[in-house]
Subunit: 326 residues, 2 copies
């Protein structure tokens, strides 16, 4: 840590790179972006606060990854192709080791998605990372929350609930074998934004969003936006918990697996809907994007969310969404 590196030195050392997409790059009052002719711009902002979105002990490279990943996940949920992002960063002090790690993790993920840092802000303050991300999508092709129709299947990508299991270990309410904890911790600290899947689902899925506050709570937003209801198979969802697989040897019971899958939070998977006639197309999109997809429910005309077990019987267990102010 040093006080000798000022605000502009900090930006120059850790965050300035040759501009490719922006005619200006980092350093003028604004970045200039020239969207491809006719394309719509998808925009999303996420703010990460220490102690709420990440633990103070997280490795800085993983935090750099996660801060961008949760934003790319919003682009994925819209079927948008990542273009660029801005980074606003409040730091308690200039810690060069931290900055080196953070910027390394951030740019590794940015480069993997061709997403360019075009501007931002740095200031002193309680640690806070705010990224705004820009993607492009052809008019009419964006995946919205409002397109689900009765009879559609409900699908989810990847795995659910493992991030929550890691959090419970950190909280001291759960013990896991070392290998299982390492897997869960990776899911919590370095989520994978499902960008390729979002692109592959354009014109296949009828609605989509990303799971950040827990499957049940986020799915309710989709149902409300679409004016429909759903029946959700808690056991099909619980089967998406990586640590619930027999080989994971984590010894987790059904209630805990259901709880983590349905209201765990921090998954950054896509939950999406598609007509039953599109099942083969969805499976193909999953293969093309190298991302597992699984059916976990069905959209109903009747409003509300009904949670059932694998046999179709109602599940009495309660599942709630994460709310930062509840």
């Amino acid at each position: 840590m040093t006080g000798a590196l000022g605000e502009f030195g900090l930006i120059a050392r850790y965050f300035r790179r040759p501009a490719t997409r922006s005619p200006l790059g980092v350093g003028d009052d604004c970045a200039l972006l020239a969207p491809a002719p006719g394309m719509q711009l998808a925009v999303s902002s996420d703010m990460l606060v220490e102690g709420r979105h990440f633990l103070s002990t997280v490795a800085p490279a993983r935090l750099g990854h996660k801060a961008l990943a949760v934003n790319l996940s919003d682009l994925a949920a819209c079927g948008a192709r990542p273009l660029a992002f801005t980074l606003a960063l409040a730091l308690p002090a200039v810690d060069e080791d931290w900055l080196e790690g953070f910027s390394r993790g951030l740019f590794a993920l940015a480069d993997a998605h061709g997403c360019e840092l075009v501007g931002g802000d740095t200031t002193r303050g309680p640690l806070n990372v705010c990224i705004t991300v820009f993607g492009e999508v052809p008019p009419g092709a964006a995946l919205l929350r409002s397109g689900a129709r009765a009879g559609d299947d409900v699908w989810v990508s990847g795995t659910l609930g493992d991030a929550r299991l890691a959090l419970e270990v950190f909280r001291g309410t759960l013990d896991l074998p070392a290998a299982a904890f390492a897997l869960a911790r990776r899911r919590m600290e370095t989520p994978t934004p499902r960008v390729a899947l979002g692109l592959a689902l354009r014109r296949v899925a009828t609605a989509a969003l990303d799971v950040s506050d827990g499957l049940v709570g986020d799915l309710r937003h989709l149902l409300e936006a679409s004016g429909v209801g759903a029946t959700l198979d808690a056991d099909a969802a619980a089967a998406r918990v990586a640590l619930g697989a027999p080989g994971a040897d984590a010894g987790l019971d059904t209630d805990l697996l259901r709880l983590c899958a349905l209201s765990g939070g921090d998954d950054y998977e896509l939950v999406f809907t598609a007509p039953a006639a599109a099942r083969a197309a969805v499976e193909r999109a999953g293969r093309d994007a190298d991302t597992p997809v699984a059916r976990i429910g069905r959209i109903d005309a009747e409003p509300g969310l009904r949670i059932v077990d694998a046999a179709g019987a109602p599940v009495a267990q309660r599942f709630t969404a994460f709310d930062h102010f509840a």
Copy 2:
């Protein structure tokens, strides 16, 4: 204050309004923007932290104004027309009085500039306001920092240094008569983004930026980007301090006026350059934008910044820029 209003209720009550510019408005994973054909998009992010960018005692409506104003000021400095913004907000608790005031001040300024809130994020955490703003500008018309040429005049808009005088009163290092303090405080808490002037200066100014960290420090960025130097008239700059005018009756001495004008910070005025042949055009841009403009220096081929008095003699006083990490 209440805990009953959750994250989504908070957004719905204080931040959701009918969408006009975005096909989606607040509420999907991303906002969608459709830039006008052929236009470039200017993007800027600013993060405001309690105790650094604003005092904890500031009226929430003024903070709402300022958080957007400092971002609009970046668009102004590029000559971009405001379109939309995202808001990410970390709040220690849900305080409805605070939210009512903050959103009222924010939207009053947003509406005055036709700038629409299209998305964002809310979370619990130390008070932090991060806005990313979007504007549009025709290709080649953006005002950059890099266009200043030897022989150009250096101009500044509006007034300088009054925000710093208010800060010194809050710090207890200065006393001001009540009316003078009220004026200075307004400049500190509700700066005026010079959007109309920025638009009027397209194809008139050769370079521009906005003064946020102090005139001298910010001007150096412009000189470096342009590969030139400048001679700055400290007395012409000091004459821009509103509280230095005879009628203000604030009893401030020359050294203090020069210090506040040259390194005060938080001014959000435009400093810009234009050829001597464009003086009438600059004056006309100022009149069209209803914004005072004044010549305060000259661009030199020789690198470096020379600060002189009204008679052209070097000024020995030292002026530094504000640096969040110095």
